[in-house]
Symmetry: C2
Subunit: 397 residues, 2 copies
């Protein structure tokens, strides 16, 4: 983090996680416009970043609320001023219920998810004892998926049960298409989205939804275009509030979501260029012990490691942002807790093209899955195009 100055390439202890402002600003606007164009509200998944400063940027850009995954995450977001919270997960355990009940008492507009009679009973008793009412969404899943009722019959039976609990308010339907698979995944996700629509309409038809503005909500960061389109085509807008919940879009990535976004743009060529990767980790070469090998001070403690990170660019320590050196042919071969093994090309032309590598050279790395990079850091550096640190962004994992 900044010591005496704000130059990422000179004043900041590396490794450091870096968010590029131009790409961040672009992504914030891009996804909000996408939701607006589909008549949907945006409740970005906050678990991706757990960074209140980014929640505020998302709300300022027009987000309807923030989605979260756990009770402590909701508490942290509320403590930083987020008033509308969608906990897209089951609320289980009295210690977690106590956290959410405290937020309800403090005035939070909060929604949780239910998918079992057992949990409905637990919540009903707990919130009745506290003299509070909790808004819940029923989760519709799929056979072989994660949580959620497996079909509409289960949804309706659970709706009756929620209706019978005085302390629970049925406020709509929730789903997550990221665990829906099939030989034709696009068709499988579309079919699932239509099942969500039908189940929501059935609950509504039977008078089981108590909330005057019920939610219908789904979508992670890979298939949001399909969910948005079905919810738009279903013309639920008059009665339901369609809510999209992508999270990773805010900084995008250099891995699975870059792939997913290519598919989105393939399906929707009319969409503008799309999201830009905004999150990188900068680290330094610490040793050049053998020809063809650089050891970099970057490890599993610093960056997502479901896939090996990708060297993107190189700078001299103390250099200027525009003096970019190439890393052509560089490849991470192994990641330990605090070190990356980087294989350097041995081809003479490429070695000459890349220029001499020095101990201290700074490498920008990209990774797949931003959630698992954010959770490595208590503070990230938001930088401008000149790689000057404009803000130190805190996380609250």
């Amino acid at each position: 983090m900044p010591q005496t100055g704000n130059r990422l390439l000179a004043d900041v202890s590396l490794p450091a996680a870096v968010i590029h402002e131009p790409a961040l600003a672009h992504n914030l606007t891009w996804m909000q416009r996408f939701a607006d164009a589909h008549g949907a509200r945006l409740a970005p998944h906050g678990k991706t970043t757990m960074a209140p400063a980014l929640f505020q940027r998302q709300l300022d850009a027009g987000a309807w609320g923030i989605t979260l995954a756990t009770a402590p995450q909701c508490r942290a977001a509320f403590a930083h001023g987020v008033m509308r919270l969608l906990m897209a997960n089951q609320l289980v355990g009295e210690a977690n219920m106590a956290i959410i009940a405290d937020l309800v008492e403090a005035g939070a507009d909060i929604y949780c998810v239910v998918d079992s009679a057992e949990n409905v009973g637990q919540l009903g008793r707990y919130f009745a004892a506290r003299g509070l009412r909790l808004k819940v969404l029923i989760e519709l899943g799929v056979e072989g998926g994660r949580c959620g009722c497996r079909d509409q019959d289960e949804v309706m039976a659970l709706g009756e049960l929620v209706d019978s609990e005085q302390s629970l308010v049925l406020a709509g339907l929730e789903g997550y298409e990221g665990v829906v698979y099939g030989d034709d995944p696009v068709q499988a996700v579309r079919a699932y989205a239509w099942h969500l629509v039908e189940a929501a309409q059935a609950l509504d038809h039977d008078g089981l939804i108590e909330s005057p503005a019920p939610l219908i909500t789904a979508s992670g960061s890979a298939w949001y275009d399909l969910i948005a389109k079905v919810l738009q085509e279903a013309r639920l807008g008059a009665h339901f509030v369609p809510v999209l919940r992508p999270g990773c879009y805010v900084v995008h990535d250099h891995g699975i979501y870059r792939e997913a976004q290519r598919d989105v743009l393939g399906r929707r060529p009319e969409l503008d260029r799309g999201l830009k990767p905004a999150l990188e980790v900068f680290a330094q070469v610490v040793s050049l012990p053998e020809p063809g090998l650089a050891i970099v001070g970057l490890g599993k403690r610093d960056i997502a490691h479901d896939q090996l990170p990708e060297p993107l660019r190189r700078y001299r320590e103390g250099g200027e942002a525009e003096r970019v050196l190439p890393v052509d042919g560089w490849r991470v071969t192994r990641l330990m807790d605090q070190h990356a093994f980087v294989a350097l090309p041995r081809d003479e032309e490429l070695v000459a093209f890349n220029g001499r590598v020095r101990v201290g050279d700074i490498i920008a790395f990209g990774a797949s899955h931003p959630c698992l990079t954010f959770d490595k850091w208590r503070r990230l550096c938001r930088v401008n195009e000149a790689l000057a640190v404009e803000e130190v962004i805190a996380t609250c994992f």
Copy 2:
């Protein structure tokens, strides 16, 4: 973390990381005795836990100092009262040098590692400009390994160079056997340990070591017995201070280090029963959506995931610690950010033996590689045998 009471099974928001005091206390004593019995000092690797309360327990048990991997880690340990710090890593980048220089000025007894002429020059210039002297150890590595000089000639040449820098004090030799491989790994590690001894003696013979009590240090958490034995057999004690640096021993694990410890005890049957796993993550069943499937509120955000975690025991929420329910045949099949998929046995006898599973049941999970569980948590619960929380232990990653 504790809400109104201190009962892990009733009052604590789950998932939570848990350290069992009896196993922790056992491990602290066990490893200190091991080092003492070999005439070595113990500088436990602090990067494993980054928990100052555990550093203090290690120092109270007799540790000579704390090993760390980065300049910010050294700063954090020193801020919590650790006065002797072994940074078993190269010190690269002026922002990192500034952190270490500040610690030297503040009175820390600190050692860093060098393995290249380039870095020796950088450090020499920086510390000269600050008017300070830095104690460095030369790293000896192996061909195909990580950092470090590749042979004794390189070590000697670097020793001459350090000697020529007025601001650097050569204080010994450092190695890490965890990246040494061979058809016979035991022989390869032993041979490497003897190379360390020979290189240290050669530096000493040539009068290149300036420190009056130079260090010879190696050992991670898998081969510490081999290193300790060679350093003992070499009888360096009169002049050198042998320092062992295992880190994971303090809480041990349910994976790679359990395997490694079996090998240690196989090689050294006279050693008493050995280390005990002390670190677990407790999480709750959030959904039972299909026969044979439990979804648990435990994800990559909560536990090391190089290997899938292992269900160990089960409790009812609000129950007593001694009322342990079985998890025979339970198996984690997939881990997402915040959810684990657990396959439950379908065999009727086993289902009957395990008893009915409920939403809210609490599962204790073990994992491989404690470093990558600790870094998921800002606070861990240290519990007694009754699973009452005795201390909330903060980390400073």
